[in-house]
Amino acid sequence: MNGLRVLIVEDEVIIAWDLRETLERLGNEVLPIAAAAGKAVEQARAAAPDLILMDITLRGERTGIDAALEIREFSDVPIFYVTGNSHLLHDLQMIRTHAQGVYAKPPSEDQIQEMLEIARRTGGRGIDGNILPE
């Protein structure tokens, strides 16, 4: 199993830290954590991650969906929403971001494995409209 380069977009540091620990333990490289949408887009452009775990409520006005839409302008990187805002599941904007899946926060280790597996299979290319609601 090859390690992937993962970008965590999360404004709650403890949850981000937890995700990082798990991902690193599973042999992946975790990029510096982005707590706001602008930072997330910047990181996605600069570091070209293999996988993005995206929270929806972020620090500041813009959401994870805003960030994902902007990232989609230059990248097909697999994006998984990891969120407590399950009421946004059917948000039209969110569907337009062609994310690979949506997971309730915080995801279990099995769920993280699943995300990594999907990311590996799709080889960094997004699948249109493939939303996997939790």
Partner: protein, 525 residues
């Protein structure tokens, strides 16, 4: 000639009734003065009738005194009878002659019968049917005929033969005619009084209504505006005018077209209108406009407009309040979930550091403290009833009490807190509370391994440039160079939370340990 006299007599009697009505309108028959004046009138009329008698033949003289006096007594009572009787009796005595006794007797009999029936009449309103009046007239004149027996030198029977039938046929009829006129006047008087009463009642009622009331005719002319309307819109001078004369043209045209439509269709309409009232403020009215049907024809338009401003405002406020509550509820659930997520992550992080049962026990204790430090934020929120901001002094006091109870460092260690006037948003207070918990726990557990004496000082203050300064200082042994599992996690937690607050952390080791954190009081990207 006879016909002319008859007409003269009838005209006299009709004039009597008209003047009687005139007097009754000004001086009611129910007052002593009214009754006396009526007596004078009836007496005067009878006197004139006696001075111009109707002569049917030689020695055969009719006059209307019995009719006039009996009706006066019947309609206006004893005082009227006394005055009229006195006047006619005086005249009859002056005239003298052989018929004087009978003349006076007829006057007295007529007056007594009239008063008798007046007394028997139950109601205050003197209205009679024709039959009643005819029977009354018949009685009076039968008595009058009976009184011919008082005539001294003429045989009563021959007089009776002469005048008997004409009197019985004509006098009761005359009584009916005059009585009916007087009765009709009483009826009219009653209608007028009822109408006036009703008008006053409804006028007062309309004026008391706390709504704008308007009546308009089918040409759109204002017929009536109530007091409330006048007070609210200065509408008293609208009466007699159409909307064109008191409203701007466009508005007036619209209103008159609507008014016409309501009258033509005969269907009421309700709408909400905003009007500028005399105080200059705009108020919302619910205007009900409806046709008033009279004898199958709708030619009057009524409007009742109720001020619903207060109701509308209350509704708006309620709706706003409900929306706020919904937002708040969603927010609360989100926070609860978020906090539980944080706890899940913390537990997982902590689990990965556990190697021995002692560490497991320690981890449990630390987790308990962290959960408490978060719970205290919520306690302070609902205790203070300010659901958006946390008073940090109150929070610190509670946290210090909890930790002292948990770690019981003894009297030698003094824990002081000072955060007077510092308030934080709920977003900032959770990470800040966790930081305070870690640093204070750390100091309580590790700064004084040999007990006191010592001091732990916790301070928070606003630095003035929108930043908050937080410091936890102890007079203990300083940060251990290589602290065990819990220390590492705790300090990492502090660093990360400090990052989340976008703050800076400095640690100084100088006669004890001092953690100093500066962070902006408001969040932002």
């Amino acid at each position: 000639m006879v016909t002319v006299e008859l007409i003269y007599n009838l005209a006299l009697l009709v004039a009597l009734s008209v003047v009687s009505g005139f007097i009754d309108l000004r001086w009611s028959r129910n007052t002593r003065l009214g009754a006396l004046l009526q007596g004078a009138l009836f007496g005067g009329t009878a006197v004139i009738a006696m001075l111009r008698p109707l002569t049917l033949g030689p020695g055969l003289i009719f006059d209307g005194r019995s009719v006039v006096i009996s009706l006066g007594a019947l309609f206006f009572g004893p005082w009227c009878a006394v005055v009229a009787g006195a006047m006619t009796i005086t005249l009859r005595l002056i005239l003298g002659g052989s018929g004087a006794v009978m003349g006076v007797s007829v006057i007295l009999a007529s007056a007594f019968i009239g008063v008798f029936y007046h007394r028997r009449h139950q109601s205050l309103i003197f209205e009679f049917h024709s039959l009643q009046l005819w029977l009354f007239g018949l009685l009076v004149h039968l008595v009058m005929l009976a009184l011919t027996f008082t005539l001294p030198d003429i045989a009563a029977f021959s007089v009776l033969q002469l005048i008997g039938w004409p009197v019985i046929l004509t006098y009761p009829l005359a009584t009916v005619l005059i009585g009916k006129i007087l009765s009709d006047q009483a009826t009219h008087g009653r209608f007028l009084a009822d109408l006036k009463n009703s008008e006053e009642r409804f006028g007062a009622f309309m004026n008391q209504l706390p709504a704008l009331c308007v009546l308009k005719d089918d040409q759109g002319r204002v017929l009536f505006t109530n007091d409330h309307m006048n007070a609210m819109l200065n509408a008293q001078h609208w009466v007699g005018h159409t909307a064109r004369e008191y409203l701007p043209d466009a508005q007036a045209g619209r209103m008159m077209a609507e008014d016409r439509r309501i009258l033509e269709r005969g269907i009421p309409e309700v709408e909400e209108v905003t009007l500028e009232v005399v105080t200059g403020e705009n108020r919302i009215f619910e205007a009900h406009r409806f046709p008033i049907k009279r004898q199958g024809k709708s030619d009057i338009l009524g409007t009742i407009a109720i001020d619903i401003t207060a109701r509308r405002q209350a509704e708006d406020q309620l709706r706003r309040s409900l929306q706020e509550k919904e937002v708040l509820l969603r927010e609360v659930h989100h926070r609860v979930k978020n906090n539980l997520n944080i706890m899940t992550s913390l537990l997982r992080l902590q689990a990965s550091t556990i190697r021995t049962p002692e560490q497991a026990l320690l981890a449990m204790q630390n987790t308990r403290d962290r959960i408490l430090s978060m719970a205290l934020v919520h306690e302070e929120l609902y205790r203070s009833r300010d659901y958006a901001q946390v008073d940090m002094q109150a929070y610190l006091d509670m946290l210090a009490r909890q930790l002292l109870r948990a770690y019981g460092p003894g009297d030698a260690i003094r824990l002081t807190t000072r955060a007077q006037g510092v308030v934080l948003s709920i977003d900032r207070s959770i990470p800040c509370g966790l930081i305070l918990n870690e640093l204070m726990t750390n100091a309580l557990k590790h700064a004084f391994p040999h007990g006191g004496p010592g001091e732990i000082r916790v301070e928070m203050r606003e630095a003035g440039d929108g930043e908050i300064e937080l410091s936890v200082a102890d007079t203990g042994i300083g940060v251990p160079a290589d602290s065990e599992g819990r220390g590492t996690l705790g300090l990492t937690l502090v660093r990360l939370l400090c990052e989340q607050l976008e703050g800076t952390l400095t640690i100084t080791n100088d006669s004890g340990t001092r953690y100093h954190i500066r962070f902006p009081s408001g969040g932002g990207e």
